[in-house]
């Protein structure tokens, strides 16, 4: 779900701060680490392109902690249409690396294709990292709930990402509007967005809110807040429910008025850049974007909770992941398991990545950790990132990737038809649902 495509380069100082702070994490004792620390061997990793910069220091730190161990990584494109054929081709050719990074949307596909391995043997290997070590909702994204992989874990969360409201403090100051506290309703947020919107003639020159409307992290929590679900009991996708219609309409109505910028209204379709460039005063996105906003924004900014919808607090949630490959487990299990255990330890990736603002550790015991909470702002209101996990809503991982790609496409088209051409939202959602469920039926018939 969290496909931001944003890369960043953490400073050396930030890394050192992170490693120092990590010593205060108070993580559970790492039995496996103390038991057998490898002194030789080679570990290979495939990283997504936008993760190369943050993970480079992680790999360096691992090499420093394991003298004699070699670690080699290769970069894979993050766009689905390039990444999936590449990984499937490598799997077919038996050329997978020991460890791969992936998106939650791809978990089932990767598992079915034999790209990722079931991690239950790792959890049961006697080390400190077990299934209960992770925050349940984030690990459960990678728990297969059907098919022959049912019950297996095919990924470990990279971070604990929830969607929060980012706002430009200068725009609020200029408009004489008090900063939001997060205790607000969707209508109140729209009223603020309307005040922040600037128009020149009939055209909006600054939007109140930049929102990725046809994104599951936007519409799934909305639908749930209105009492609906994205999936029906029979497993089909429900885009025609009253809850779905209300959810999309409340965003699309404002997009039509020029208050909300979605894909088509944002320059180059880049919603996050619309916020960071000052083209929009607020946006709704995840912690992974913080390093990018910190490096690119001139104005001061902060975060708060996304507004309540229908009196209910719900927000999008998800995470990237990493996993061992079957060949990695078969041929290099000691090193693979050692890396994973080190990765989630205090002096491993958790400390380093947290110190760069990139992640909230996906480990409940670290939600209050100073390693990420005490970093200087912006953002100052860091508790929002962990507190909103309590009301997070996750897109079901039972939707096959091929179908999810149809959902994304059809909803984007529906949005353009409604917002640009004034089409009837109910009709557009019905068309989208028909196309999606046809694709789902074809997928299930395979």
């Amino acid at each position: 779900m969290i496909k931001t495509g944003i890369g960043f380069a953490p400073s050396r100082r930030a890394i050192l701060q992170g490693m120092a702070a990590a010593a205060t994490l108070g993580l559970p004792a790492m039995k496996a680490m103390a038991a057998t620390i490898p002194t030789s061997g080679k570990l290979t990793v495939t990283v997504l392109d936008f993760l190369e910069a943050p993970l480079k220091p992680v790999f360096e730190a691992y090499k420093a902690a394991r003298p004699g161990v070699e670690i080699a990584y290769e970069v894979a494109p993050s766009h689905d249409t390039e990444l999936i054929p590449l990984m499937l081709a490598r799997a077919l050719a038996g050329k997978l690396t020991d460890i791969v990074f992936l998106f939650d949307e791809l978990a089932a596909l990767y598992a079915d294709a034999g790209i990722t391995a079931d991690l239950r043997p790792y959890f049961e290997s006697g080390g400190a990292v077990t299934a209960s070590y992770f925050a349940k909702p984030f690990l459960d994204q990678y728990l297969m709930t059907s098919g022959d992989k049912k019950g297996g874990y095919y990924g470990l969360p990279y971070g604990a990402d929830t969607v929060v409201q980012f706002y430009n403090k200068k725009h609020f100051d200029d408009a004489g509007i008090p900063y939001p506290t997060g205790d607000w309703t969707f209508d109140e947020m729209i009223a603020v967005a309307e005040k922040l919107t600037i128009r020149d003639g009939g055209k909006t020159t600054r939007y109140g809110l930049a929102a990725q409307i046809p994104w599951q992290a936007t519409y799934v929590p909305g639908i749930e807040a209105w009492g609906g679900h994205i999936l029906r009991d029979d497993g089909t996708v429900d885009l025609t429910s009253d809850a779905a219609l209300k959810t999309f309409n409340m965003y699309w109505d404002q997009a039509k008025k020029g208050v909300i910028a979605s894909y088509t209204q944002s320059p180059n379709g880049d919603i996050w850049s619309a916020f960071s460039s000052g083209f929009a005063s607020m946006t709704q996105t995840v912690r992974a974007l913080v390093p990018s906003f910190r490096s690119s924004m001139k104005d001061d900014w902060d975060v708060c909770f996304t507004p309540k919808i229908n009196g209910v607090h719900k927000t999008g949630m998800g995470s990237l992941a990493l996993d061992a490959t079957p060949s990695g487990v078969a041929n290099n299990a000691d090193l693979v398991y050692d890396f994973l255990t080190w990765y989630y330890s205090g002096d491993g990736a958790m400390g380093i990545l947290s110190s760069t603002y990139a992640i909230v550790p996906p480990v409940e015991s670290l939600y209050e950790s100073p390693v990420w909470r005490n970093l200087p702002g912006p953002p100052s209101n860091t508790s929002v990132f962990s507190d909103s996990i309590a009301f997070g809503a996750i897109n079901p991982n039972t939707i096959p990737h091929a179908v999810q790609s149809i959902i994304n496409k059809e909803l984007r088209d529906a949005e353009d038809a409604v917002v640009l051409n004034g089409a009837d939202p109910a009709e557009m959602l019905a068309n989208a649902e028909a196309a999606v469920n046809q694709a789902l039926a074809e997928e299930l018939a395979k």
Partner: protein, 321 residues
Amino acid sequence: MWSAPVLNAVTMTLEAVVSNPIMSLTPQRTNSQVTRVPWGWLTLFVAPNVLLFTLFLIVPMVVALGLSFYSWDLISAPRFVGFDNFIAIPRDARAVNSIVKTAYLILIGVVPTVIVSFLVAVLANTKFPGIRIIRTIYLMPLVISFVASAVLWRFVFDARFGPINTILSWVGIDGPNWLQSTSWAMPAVAIVIVWLRFPLGMLLYLAALQSINPSLLEAAQLDGANTWQRIRHVIWPSVRPVTFLVTIVTLRGVLFDSFDVIQVMTGGGPVKSTEILIKYIFDVAFSQLKLGYASALATALLVIVTILALLLSPPRAGGRA
């Protein structure tokens, strides 16, 4: 960037090619008969091209044709489905839409490219100081990558900050949201395609124009033909073989190479208004992982191209086209 000498060299080469007896429509005979065929040299020169052509065109085409009879998602084993993939095409609304959009793009992309190429070539064929520099400028789109061009044009068409709408506003015209409009997105894409494609057409036409016997034009002038009549009755018929070549090359470019431009500029939107067949094939293959169905669509595209090529240049008696 191409310099004037390079342009001249290319122009001369093309001129030589167009005027070469082998390229001529009528068989040429020479007095001296070839008695020995230098098979060694022929093989040496032809083999690399044939090898690469076979490896990267023939083999993939045959594999794609084979795949079109299977259902395959790169994960499970391919399953033979006979003609199911082909039968599914007319029932697939997105496929039909993409074929219609492809036809629309051909209409507003290929025809203007041929006309603009010809007219610019006629202008560039005149002699005045600085003409070589102007010719070089015209050729610049040839050396810019499609993706870079598309990024540039996306900015040019920006409704708020783009130069086109800014210029239109100077004369009181409220320009459209080019790339966000289902009506204007495809014409915007076509403009970019014409811009990218016309330099090659111009180059081919220029070579052909320079091979026209000047006495023909002088005779027409003496007979009282004005400029338009000379273009219409002397120049245009003289470059007809090149028109066919430009049309085919542009058609192929529009059908296959427009993917980069559309992917960057519109992504096929808004509301599938620029989703041409090659873009849809890409989505089916690499987003939906339906390799068999995508292969069937690609085969259909090949058939469409072949039919269009045959319509433009039907085989003639004696086997010469």
